[in-house]
Amino acid sequence: MIRPAPLVERALWWGPGLAIVLVLLFAPLLFTDFYLSAVITKALWLGIAAASLIFLAGYVGMISLGQVALYGVAGFTMANLVAADGGSPIAWNPWLGALVGILACTGVGLFFGAIASRSYGIYFLMITLAFAVIASLFFGQVTQLSGFGGVNNVDRPDIVSNPVTDPANLFYIALGAAAAVYLLIRYLGRTPFGLALQGIRDDPSRMRALGYNVPLLRMLAFGLGALIAALAGILSVWWNTRISPGSIDLARTLDVLIIAVIGGLYRLEGAWVGAIVFTVLDNWTRGLDVVGGRFNTVIGVIFLAIVLLSPGGLMGIWQSITDFAGRRLAGTDSAAPRPVGEKAHPS
């Protein structure tokens, strides 16, 4: 039985949501150039990477640590194809380079998905983690493509301009990409494909018995996750103007996992909520003497606390608040219908 969510509860979701959208639309007027670029734009592309993880975790039940490695594949492919210092000497049009980077990343994702999609749960997590570390070692060793110093001064499309002196354009591009990713995943969740994926998340054997090709669907989902991660990879190279093995190493891989967990592994919005918390904290602790500038210790402790105390992350906490408020004010005690893509009992 699905009851309509009480007005208060809906207001508690839509109100802050609309406020955030409004703030974002006028962000270049509200924040300094530095803050816009170093915190908000960064949160947008990190959020896209985390969204690819949350899509796989929340809709398909695949917790992948390979998303950063995949966005590295997109980033390195593009950086090698366009004019840059280091990497291969090819100099393509930046848009074409970005497109090929995205395609290459999706291809790698499908190939890797074909191998890993027969593994489940914690095995899948381990295999994708091994893939992530190997990818970063690969780009560190292969000097023809990158080498330890990475690829610098990567050529960008004219419209991206300079992300430091004129950050508004890249901000709006990242915002558009984030909105597109969000709407795409929300839409997919309602299509037969998305529903089949959620069925697989809940019970793969039953879906197999119903005649679904479970490994194929999981592979396609992983390919789609790679496509989303590729967007984050392209944006990260445009934002950084460079990419190196250090931008996709284990620490960065874990950053995206931390963002997803802090935001909430089973709610898509959590990707960007986690990302903004992460970048704000990063920016704030840099100037802070109390912790000796040890951002990683701070974020590690927060991560540990979230995992121990609220496995649903910040979005999970917000969910409990709205549930509570809705119940109190509507006078009913039935649980609110859970949004699509959220697991009732995260394992």
Binding site: I63, I115, A116, R118, S119, G121, I122, Y123, L125, M126, I127, L129, A130, F131, V133, I134, L137, F138, Q141, V142, T143, D249, L250, A251, L254, L257, I258, V261, G292, R294, N296, T297, I299, G300, V301, F303, L304, V307, L308, P311, P346, S347
Partner: protein
């Protein structure tokens, strides 16, 4: 699986072959082809320069020994408790730092650079202290954070990831980022003569291989022959039943976690003496442990041995035997190895469903 039961009734190999799905058959054929090609390539290279072959082969075996010691702890913990200890590499790294620091204080010379040696006590005492130190850290981690999350494998993995992030950052703050080597005891000769082709080989690497074999045999004997091992084996199969029989399974879990962390520590000190103590070791050895158990199958001791052997040999030969100009692609070989195994056996060579 259906194919096997059908084939059991008919001993003729033709019928057995027909029972194997064509896709599996094709995969097996492809893997046979790859293995044959690799064997032919290694044989061709070995015939060209047998001295290099012997040295590189020994490098691979000794690396495999080190990987086995580390991964056996990882697989022991997983096998019994279904906990993927993502902080295993961090424990390895910490043991190296602890031993190095203690050795410096004991010998009093402030710095034990590469290639120096120490007295036996200055090596053994740091070894024991570092191993016990990380074993206690592992135990505390299990008791404080993991014990009350039993059965939630993802959450436990995330907890150990969080701990590994904190350890990595704190280790960087306290020990710095410069690679150093723990000095080997001076009673060990620098190298041994091999009696073939007049070659010599570093003694300590042989020692690591011997320790690994001893560790493997001891673990095997413990699991197969002792009461503790019997409880561990029973616990792997059905921990609720074991606990219903009146055995304190929590004590066994704690003991297994202690032992697993101890093995990470032992690996850390051996590796720190054989190769180096470095801030990046946590990632590297977590990766190696993951690969070893993904290849061998989680929770299997024999699998860990096979996986370590495969990884060590591929690692050593890949750096040397790839065609000129392509040796920096050697990490792709490790990836290929992983792909090859997962394509045929998603649970690893010796893995079985939970």
């Amino acid at each position: 699986m259906n194919g096997e039961t059908a084939a059991a009734a008919d001993p003729a190999w033709r019928a057995r072959l027909a029972a194997v799905p064509p896709r599996t058959l094709a995969a097996r054929f492809l893997i046979g082809l790859v293995l044959a090609f690799v064997a032919a390539w290694v044989g061709y290279k070995a015939a060209g320069n047998p001295r290099t072959f012997v040295i590189v082969g020994l490098n691979g075996l000794t690396l495999a020994g080190l990987y086995f010691v580390v991964a056996s702890g990882f697989t022991l913990i997983f096998g019994l408790m279904r906990v993927v200890n993502m902080a295993h590499g961090s424990l390895y790294m910490l043991a190296g730092f602890f031993a190095l620091e203690l050795q410096k204080r004991l010998s009093g010379d402030g710095g034990s650079g590469f290639g120096s040696s120490s007295t036996v006590g200055d090596w053994v005492i740091p070894l024991v202290v570092a191993c016990l130190g990380v074993a206690v850290i592992g135990l505390v981690m299990q008791q404080v954070f993991l014990r009350w999350n039993q059965g939630q494998d993802l959450r436990q993995a995330l907890i150990t990831i969080a701990i590994s992030i904190i350890i990595a950052d704190q280790a960087l703050a306290h020990f710095g980022g410069i690679a150093e080597e723990i000095a080997a005891p001076d009673v060990f000769p620098d190298s041994v003569a091999l009696r073939i082709y007049g070659l010599t080989y570093p003694f300590f690497r042989i020692f690591v291989l011997l320790v690994a074999i001893a560790v493997g045999l001891a673990l095997w004997a413990m699991i197969k022959r002792t009461r503790f091992g019997m409880i561990v084996r029973a616990g792997v199969d059905d921990r609720q039943m074991v606990s219903a029989l009146g055995i304190n399974i929590q004590l066994v879990f704690a003991g297994a976690f202690f032992l697993g962390a101890l093995l990470a520590g032992l690996g850390g000190v051996l590796g720190g003496t054989m190769i180096s103590v470095n801030k990046g070791n946590d990632t590297t050895y977590l990766l190696f442990s993951l690969i070893v158990v993904i290849i061998g199958g989680m929770g299997s001791l024999a699998g860990a041995a096979i996986g370590a052997l495969a990884l060590g040999l591929v690692d050593a030969f890949g750096d040397v035997y790839l065609p000129e100009g392509y040796t920096n692609y050697s990490v792709l070989l490790i990836f290929g190895l992983l792909v090859l195994v997962l394509a045929v056996r998603p649970l690893g060579l010796f893995g079985r469903p939970a």
